[in-house]
Amino acid sequence: MDEHERWLATILTSITDGVIAADAMGVVKFVNAAAERISGWQQPEVVGCDLAEIYHAWDESGEAPAEIPPLPSLLEAPEQYRERQIRRLARKDGSSILVEQSIAPISDGSKAVSGSVVVFRELAGHGTCAGNGVNGHDLH
């Protein structure tokens, strides 16, 4: 089992998409290397934190917040969040970056749900914005 888990962790660490997994209460359990690079948050400093406290996103224009939904809301409309959406993500250093993200519940295929996972990738050709980069002030 441990070997299998290590194998899965290696895969998740190797992929270029950022992956952040949280438990059913929204507490961060895993951050892969791509997510560390894109968001600026390192896994050891955010594991155990509320996902909503470290992953702040806005719509593409930076006007409207598009926070990560808590699991109950996600379960009510999973299709709405599963589709890839363009978001402006606030990085740890205060800058922002355009990403394509999707969110899905972590389920074994039955009705049992153990958390949620956010998958996001940096959009090519879109640089970062200095400052908080939201609310229309610093956006390009």
Binding site: M25, G26, V46
Partner: protein, 346 residues
């Protein structure tokens, strides 16, 4: 000679006609006054509109009556007033009777709970309780007095029996000790029991406080009922693992306290609880039509009960622990620092 009916009919046809006061009218008024005064209206303490007041109202209207016709109207209303008064009195008696029966029921339960045997007084009380309406207060008082006398007698007998049992046991212990002292000591390797006058090691009391980690987060995400369900699950888990004499008490919506009787030291108790708390950190709970894996980990501490001179001090220590733990978790979450279960042991 005309009938009263005819007289009144004539009066009704010509109501403007002044009626000369005569002996018939005076006699009618006097007869009615005596009748009203003699009616058995029920006086009601601390109430208005019943009993004496109803009679007073009728008499007042009688005084104000100008015609014999008005006098007869008052007379006509008197039976209705009496009937209303009687209904009110019956309702009042029924309520009093129900109150009395409730009191007797409580008394029966009390007597039954303090009686070692179901003595005759309990049966007697149950018999009184079953009576649908308490009619005769004097008879009730007598019955209750007899019952309570029987209870006192039974209590006295139990006290005497208990004293005799203690004396008998003390005597047996003395004779057993004397008998053993007269025997040669058994070989040390064959004996597990060493009789000694030194006191047995006494059990010490400990109180462990368990706080559900991220309880507020569970309530915020899934509602108070789910948090309550998670706490109940963890409590049940502990109850299964602890000794039968240990008592688990729900403290608030996020914490529970376990009172333990142990002969070991605080370190021993901490080690025992640590192993229990480490079992099962998450569990699936039904939320709507899904099963969701929720964190059931705990922050806990244990206090020797001897540390507290009064229950108030113990309550304060528990509240302080819960508040500090919750504050620590909240501060770590807001600061972006990880929230990890804190294992705080005494």
């Amino acid at each position: 000679m005309i009938s009263i009916r005819t007289y009144l009919e004539r009066l009704t046809r010509d109501p403007g006609r002044a009626e000369a006061p005569g002996p018939l009218s005076a006699a009618l008024r006097q007869a009615l006054r005596m009748l009203i005064a003699g009616l058995p209206f029920e006086p009601v303490p601390n109430r208005t509109g019943h009993g004496g007041e109803a009679a007073g109202e009728l008499l007042k209207r009688l005084d104000e009556a100008r015609h014999s016709f008005d006098v007869l109207e008052v007379a006509d209303e008197a039976p209705a007033a009496l009937e209303r008064d009687a209904r009110a009195a019956r309702a009042r008696h029924r309520a009093q009777s129900e109150e009395l029966q409730a009191m007797i029921s409580m008394l029966t339960e009390t007597v039954a709970s303090i009686s070692v045997h179901k003595d005759s007084s309990v049966a007697r009380l149950q018999q009184i309780e079953r009576v649908s309406l308490v009619e005769d207060m004097r008879a009730l008082k007598t019955s209750l007095s007899e019952c309570l006398a029987a209870v006192r007698e039974a209590a006295l007998q139990q006290q005497v029996q208990a004293t005799e049992s203690i004396q008998r046991l003390e005597s047996q212990i003395r004779s057993s000790k004397a008998h053993l002292a007269s025997q040669p000591p058994p070989p040390a390797e064959d004996s597990d029991l060493v009789l000694s006058d030194e006191p047995e090691p006494r059990e010490s009391g400990y109180a462990a406080v368990f706080l559900l980690d991220r309880a507020d987060l569970i309530a915020r995400r899934y509602g108070e009922s789910v948090r309550s369900e998670v706490l109940a699950f963890v409590r049940q888990h502990f109850k299964r693992m602890l000794m039968p004499n240990d008592r688990s008490i729900r403290w608030n919506s996020a914490a529970f306290v376990v009172l333990l009787q142990r002969t070991g030291t605080a370190d021993d108790v901490s080690a025992e609880l640590r192993s229990l708390a480490s079992l099962g950190r998450s569990q699936y709970f039904d939320v709507g039509d899904r099963s969701v894996l929720l964190d059931t980990s705990l922050t806990w501490t244990v206090f020797p009960q001897a540390d507290f001179a009064s229950p108030d001090l113990f309550f304060k220590a528990v509240e302080d622990f819960i508040r500090q733990s919750a504050e620590r978790q909240a501060a770590q979450t807001k600061s972006g620092a990880p929230v990890r279960p804190i294992r705080n042991t005494a």
